[in-house]
Symmetry: C2
DNA sequence: ATTATCTATAGATCTATAGATAATGC
DNA sequence: ATTATCTATAGATCTATAGATAATGC
């Protein structure tokens, strides 16, 4: 019984990608050390030997996966739109909504788990993913924050630097990570739409927007 | 060369605790599956065989560790004080500061990692830890929020339910988890005091406190 | 006499490779 | 003829246990 098991033979490059895609949930759940080559091969529907035709070691697969995920990390839908808007309070609100929804709903469990795994390890993956994702977004955020300040939409004492961006980011990421296990790890479990709304208002107030600006630029739901 | 290696012989119960304490950083970093019994024994300074005199399996050690950490989870210093204050805006601010500092500075890397490991697994540990830690605190928080509302210290639209508590909690936890890897996984890296201050102000605004109330009840640094 | 501890090891599992086979492409 | 794939397996490591020894407590 030598030869192919399932009759599907792929080109080298295709197979390589298929492996990385299939293997992601395993690494995401168990981490580099917890995942076994047997599990990885089973998930990819191939023999363990074939894994090693494509990668020299288990950790090479893991790092190739990180690289692929980073490369495939698309700018969130809606970024293009925002990039070409003039800097205003309205753009600031859209920018924040973008960050929050991307982390909260735009990310699969597997992606979120890979971030958490990275934080428990050397952080390389999280760092390069954030760098790639938010490079443009931070600039847009700061521009718009500046504009909001000039328009008089910020309360006294509101921060004008990137801290507001990163607190928004970290809050959304924190909420996302706490939703990972089943059942969820927190008592606070509102339905999706309500959660988004609550977080958005918390953040908009948190960065120092006045009520008038919030009411004008943010529409719930 | 049979017998003792380091000449230290302990009573059963003492040794059990010593094992769990010594083993915590290993499980925290590598997780249940990533840690090997060899590493665990080495960390505890004993033979692998002795591990199995105290616990029936590796995962039993892991769960015993979770149980110990949950049990040892002390109410944060300062809780006692707050419990006996009358519900006011001032108490609300102290309560928030307590949550934030406990997560941000009151928690070792090992403890924070165990939480993250739990979120990647079944979440049981995180859930029971939070339940134990915050049981009293949530009630205090809600009381005080109510009082702040009555005193006219809340802006229009501010939430009156536990969502404010949990967003505070999740933000602080998120920031803490992102600080785990070396180097840190985020571009935003202010010194400790500045970070605390920035987060506190973000949260106090986020839950809807008016500027007057913030200025009156929160003193930076 | 009891018990805390060790060394040694069995058996399972895991990582990685060698060598064979079947599908593809010329 | 090349290459994608498999089976089989070596060698390392891992989990857990058996059986021996040394310290403690009576």
């Amino acid at each position: 019984m030598y030869g192919m098991a399932n009759g599907k033979r792929m080109q080298h490059e295709k197979r390589r990608e298929a492996i990385l895609t299939a293997v992601a949930p395993i690494f995401a759940r168990k981490g580099l050390h917890g995942a076994t080559t047997r599990e990885l091969a089973a998930a990819a529907g191939i023999s363990e030997a074939l894994l090693y035709k494509h990668f020299p070691s288990k950790s090479a697969i893991f790092h190739a996966l990180d690289a692929m995920e980073t490369q495939h990390a698309l700018p969130p839908p809606g970024l293009e739109l925002i990039l070409h808007m003039p800097p205003t309070t309205g753009r600031l609100v859209r920018c924040i909504r973008l960050i929050v929804t991307q982390l909260l709903h735009g990310e699969s469990d597997t992606e979120a788990r890979l971030i958490a795994q990275s934080l428990l390890d050397d952080g390389d993956y999280a760092r390069s993913l954030f760098a790639k994702r938010h490079q443009q977004l931070v600039a847009v955020f700061l521009d718009s924050l500046q504009a909001a300040a000039k328009a008089g939409d910020l309360r006294k004492g509101a921060a004008r630097d990137e801290s507001a961006f990163w607190l928004t980011h970290h809050l959304a990421l924190g909420v996302r990570l706490l939703k990972l296990p089943m059942p969820v790890a927190t008592e606070w479990q509102p339905p999706e739409e309500e959660a988004l709304d609550t977080i958005m208002l918390f953040v908009l107030r948190g960065i120092g927007l006045k009520n008038s600006a919030i009411n004008h630029h943010y529409v719930a739901g």
